[in-house]
Every structure is written in C-alpha cells, then in structure tokens.
Symmetry: C2
Subunit: 335 residues, 2 copies
DNA sequence: CTGAAAGCGCTTACAG
DNA sequence: CTGAAAGCGCTTACAG
C-alpha cells in the first residue's frame, strides 16, 4: 500500500507538502497541488487513518455500546446513530453487550483502547466500576435511552410517563381492572421507570398493582414467557399484561398461545416499544412508540458537541401510545 | 492518559521492558515483571491500540459490510460474526450499506483507510470498481450470503435450492398451481439464485413461471407491497406469493390486509429467511430458514484463516423449509 | 535479562 | 509557498 512518502517522491515534493494538500491547507501553490493530486490518483493512495489518529490524537470515531443488537429498538437506534454520525463526519463502532455487564465492560475497554473520540452508551446495569471510571475519566460520553446516576454525563432519553398514562386510560376505558406488568431489570433505569409510571397511572385511576401482578423480566423473550406463565397460573389471572419491551411481549404471546388462550378475549396485551411487525401479529399489538430515530440523532449531536469542546445538554423526548387491537379495542384506530 | 513512558518511569525500567511485559515476552525476570505490572495497575495504564497498530501493521479488527442492518437476517448475521470474532480475539466494525452501492463503497473505503485486517462483505450489487479493487488488492476478504463473481474471494453462503424445492412441493401438495415470486435485485446473487431455484422447482412439478408472476423487488418492505399490488390487480391473481426475503413478505402482507383479503384463503404467502416473529403473525408464515449463526461463524473463521496467512475454502450450508399456516396447511407441523 | 535506537505513517510548528 | 525535523506511542532487531 502506497504511503505518503511514495506520493511525495512521485510528485517531487516533501511529505509535508503532500500532507498539506491532503488536508486542504490553503498555502499550497495550485500547480504543486495538482502535481500531488495526480500522484495520489496514480498510486491509488489513501491516507493511513491509523497513523493520522496517532499523530492528531483523534480518531473521528464514536463508540456505541448497546444492550442487545437483536432487539429491534436498539437496531434502529444504532442505525440512526450511524446515519447522523456519518453525516457529521464520524464513524461508529458498535459494541453489543447482550444484556451482560461483563460484555459491556469488555466493549467499553476495547473502545477506549482504540481511543474513540466519544462514547455513547445505553447501560445494561447500574454502572460497573469500569463504566464509572470511564464516565469520570474525561472521555466524552453520553447516555442514550438508559442511564446511570451520580455521574456528570448528559442523558438523551424518552419520557414514557405520558404515554403509559394514556395506555392505562385506554385499558380502563375498555373495562380492564386487573392489570399486570412485566418489568425489565431493576438495575436499569428503563426497568424501573416504566414500572413507576405504570403504578402512578394505575393509582390515578383508582387501581392497585399487587405484588403478584408484577413480574421481573430481563428484557428478553424468554423472561416474558416465564412471567406470563406465572400470571396465568394465578387463581385470578390479570385482564391485561403490559410487557415493558418488544421482546418480552413476544414471549408473553408464546405462552398465551401455548395454553390455547386468545388475545384479547382471554388476556389483553400491550408493549413498550413499537416495532414494524406489531401491525402483523394476531392481533396487532398496542404499543408505546419511542421516537427512536430522533433519540439516536440527538444523542450523536450531544456527543459530538462534547467531543468538539462545546457543552451538551440532556434531552428528553416523549413517547406516544399507538392503539391497535390487542387490548380489545374494536377495529378502527390504525397507527 | 498514561503512556508507556509513564509506566517505564514509574517502574524504573525502559519502555522496551514494559512492552515486553505487556506482550508476555518470556525473557523478563519475574521481579521486573511484577514491578512493571504494579506500575501498570497504579497508573491505570492501557496500551494505545492505535500506536500498536501503526507499529505492528495489524489492527486485530475485521470489517463487516452488510446490506441492511434493519433486516433481522443481517442483524443476526452481524451478531454471530461479532461473537465469533471476539472469541478469536478480533473486534468488528459494521458498515451498513442500506442496499445502496454508494454507501457500500463509502464503508469499504472507510474500513480500508482504518487498515482493518480483513473484510467480510455481503455485496449490495454486482461489484463496484472499488469493491473489485479491494478484492484484488490483497486485503483478506470473504463474501458472506451474497457474492460477486470473477474475483478470487472465498464465499460462505447458503444453498437454498433444496429448501425452495421442498417449498414448491409443499405448495403443490396443497393444490396451489399459480405461484408468483417477488425477487430481490438482479444485481445480487441471492436476488437471482432464489428465482432460478424457484423456476427449476416449478418446472419439476410441471408448472410455469409466467412473466406477470415475477415481480422485481429490492429486498425492502415497500417493494414487496408494490409488487403484491401488481399481482393482485391481475385478472387472474396468483394462489401463492413467495417473497424472497423477510422484509418484502411484510409489505406483501400489508397490501393483502389493506385489500381486506385473507391469508391463506385468498392468497397464500411464504418467505425466504425465517425470523422469530413469523410465529406470531396472522397466520404464522411458512419460511425457508438459513443457518444464520453458522453462516456468520464460518465466514469469520474463513476470514481469519486468510488474515493469519492460512488458506480458506468456500463454505456452502443448506437452508430448510419451516412450514406454518400461511400456505393453507392445517395446524400441526410447528417449527 | 535489559536498554538504546530505529521506525511505523502521518501532522505541524519552525525556518527560510 | 515549501522543506527538514520532531514527535505521536508503541514494538523489535540488535547489542551487551
């Protein structure tokens, strides 16, 4: 692979001049510039980004550590992050933590070893020592979707409270009174917040959330199924199961089907996070939709502000309820 | 951030010795080694991977360029690629081409600028000059899923012919005679091969594939919907629509629903690629399942063989038919 | 067993 | 406007 030296030699100039041309430095004579450019073209020269990074101490790369790539919410988030980053001249390296704190640490470490310019993370847990260190080390960092308290890191997330309240109102209006929830890990903010929002909304409508109507999931399909089985084994099973992510609702549906029960006649179903195929399930699933694309883009903008020495503010967007037929509503209000 | 010099100073040794300890070089006295290690711990030192890469000319990083991250098939592929690479001591940087040749080129270029050790690609098109150059430049490269002819690059892919034949047999047995197909881009191997396999199987069962029963899609949901609309507008619409990927079948379903028609009573539906939620659609969708995880792992192993100077063979795995109810089969054969 | 030195491919102050 | 030189943080052949 041709190096800058080869180009310099080929064009009859010094490597400094080649570098200047490559970096659009103004003080290069037009004909020198042309000579360098044709040498570049002729040799098919491409600057070595590794060497450049070592010298300039910037990689123009962002790290993104997400909890689970297979979760369509995070896939979409990753996609919007990459799009916005690219538009702003950055690349992104994605690390998939698979909801495992140890893997998350692995990725954070590996990304920092590569000297990424900034780190976007949606933490799997409450914050490992490594993550906390990273947050305090001065590496530009932004939390997206989920966050960790006690560190000075901007957070870009969705406030689902309004939408959860709308969901509860919708369920109440349909006559449901025994509502159950499958929560995410208590170590995550989204795991806790969604339950809190649900509980407050229930209270507002004069309903309670007894302990046996709360099931601890881990944001993966299997846990949705397990918790649902427990709910359905209750002497008085709930009217509605609200799964707090799009994977657990799948597990819930599996269990309901396996027992030969029907949605919504036997149990109604709703989910946090909306995904394209919720329209195609039987029945279509009522869900709370996050502005995922905007979440990713806002997070990237905040992170790049930090990277480039500006200040960054936290951003809170709102979710909205998309009613379909899984809670018993008559056909009509399409998304 | 502490550098190797700081560690050397702290431990009272030369940077060469620190480097040796870090790289497990045998000829370091145990006590020297201990001293270095405690300096490393004390300073929280982490080697700069950028500097190391520049020096050793290897990044221990693989590039993966896929056609569409939002397509669950590719998401799963990316995940298995990352898992296997990590197990073998490599990181991976994913580039999402979004089915756009220009974006694909952008990622290939960017990845090569970063001097990744090897490139895994599932080409969006027939091969841009850049892609061809890359393939010939000596950068270790492996095609996965889709491939480009005329270059000496191992291919790790699925042969779907047997499964497509099984699908056609299944459809024929159910009494379907007018079968239609929504193909992918003709510039991709999977776009062409799936149609060929379908046509051969039809011939075997004495059925034809008239031009108006072939629709050109682009592997995205919208195109599935558009082609399905055309099929349904035919004076004699097909009995079955076979969408050659999991996104286009979604579009097909949308169009069928929008017209108030029912699957499989009015039109049957089948797809290439199986995804978890096909079990939950109404009705569950009959699909051809690829061994996606194994595909990704085999591709990584082949690529790393090349990277580490060994030879690599192409690998061909087989797909299998998973029958569900979307083609009219009575309940029974679950996946 | 350990150190001094060269060098990977760049960028950039400093001269001229 | 251009070049010579230093230096980013490492690794590694070469001495000793």
């Amino acid at each position: 692979m041709a190096s800058i030296k080869d180009v310099a030699h080929h064009a009859g100039v010094s490597v400094a001049t080649v570098s200047r041309v490559l970096n659009d430095h103004p003080s290069v004579r037009a004909d020198t510039r042309d000579r360098v450019l044709s040498a570049v073209a002729e040799l098919g020269y491409r600057p070595n980004a590794v060497a450049r990074s070592l010298r300039t101490d910037q990689t123009r790369t962002l790290g993104l550590v997400i909890s689970d790539v297979l979760n369509p919410f995070f896939t979409e988030l990753a996609r919007s992050v990459e799009d916005e980053a690219r538009a702003l001249g950055y690349s992104v390296i994605i690390g998939n933590a698979d909801e495992r704190p140890d893997l998350q640490d692995h990725h954070v470490r590996s990304l920092m070893d590569r000297r990424i310019d900034g780190l976007l993370v949606s933490p799997t847990d409450g914050g490992s020592p490594l993550m906390l260190d990273a947050a305090r080390s001065g590496t530009p960092m932004v939390f997206v979707d989920r966050w960790i308290g006690g560190v000075d890191v901007p957070v870009v997330r969705t406030d689902g409270r309004g939408a959860v309240r709308d969901l509860v109102a919708h369920l109440h209006a349909l006559g449901h009174r025994r509502l159950a929830i499958i929560s995410g890990p208590a170590a995550t903010t989204t795991g806790r917040e969604r339950v809190q929002a649900f509980r407050s909304a229930l209270a507002e409508f004069g309903m309670a959330l007894p302990a046996d109507h709360m099931g601890q999931g881990d944001f993966q399909a299997d846990s949705g199924r397990r918790v649902t089985a427990r709910f359905l084994d209750l002497p008085e099973p709930p009217d509605v199961i609200f799964a707090t992510d799009n994977l657990m609702v799948l597990g819930a549906m599996d269990e309901i089907r396996a027992r030969g029960l029907r949605v919504p006649d036997d149990v109604a179903l709703a989910a946090f996070d909306d995904v394209p195929w919720f329209v195609h399930t039987d029945p279509p699933i009522t869900a709370i939709a996050q502005p995922t694309g905007e979440l990713g883009r806002a997070a990237v903008r905040a992170l790049i502000d930090l990277v480039e020495g500006r200040t960054a503010e936290s951003v809170i967007l709102s979710a909205r309820l998309v009613t379909r037929r899984s809670c018993g509503e008559p056909e009509g209000s399409k998304p």
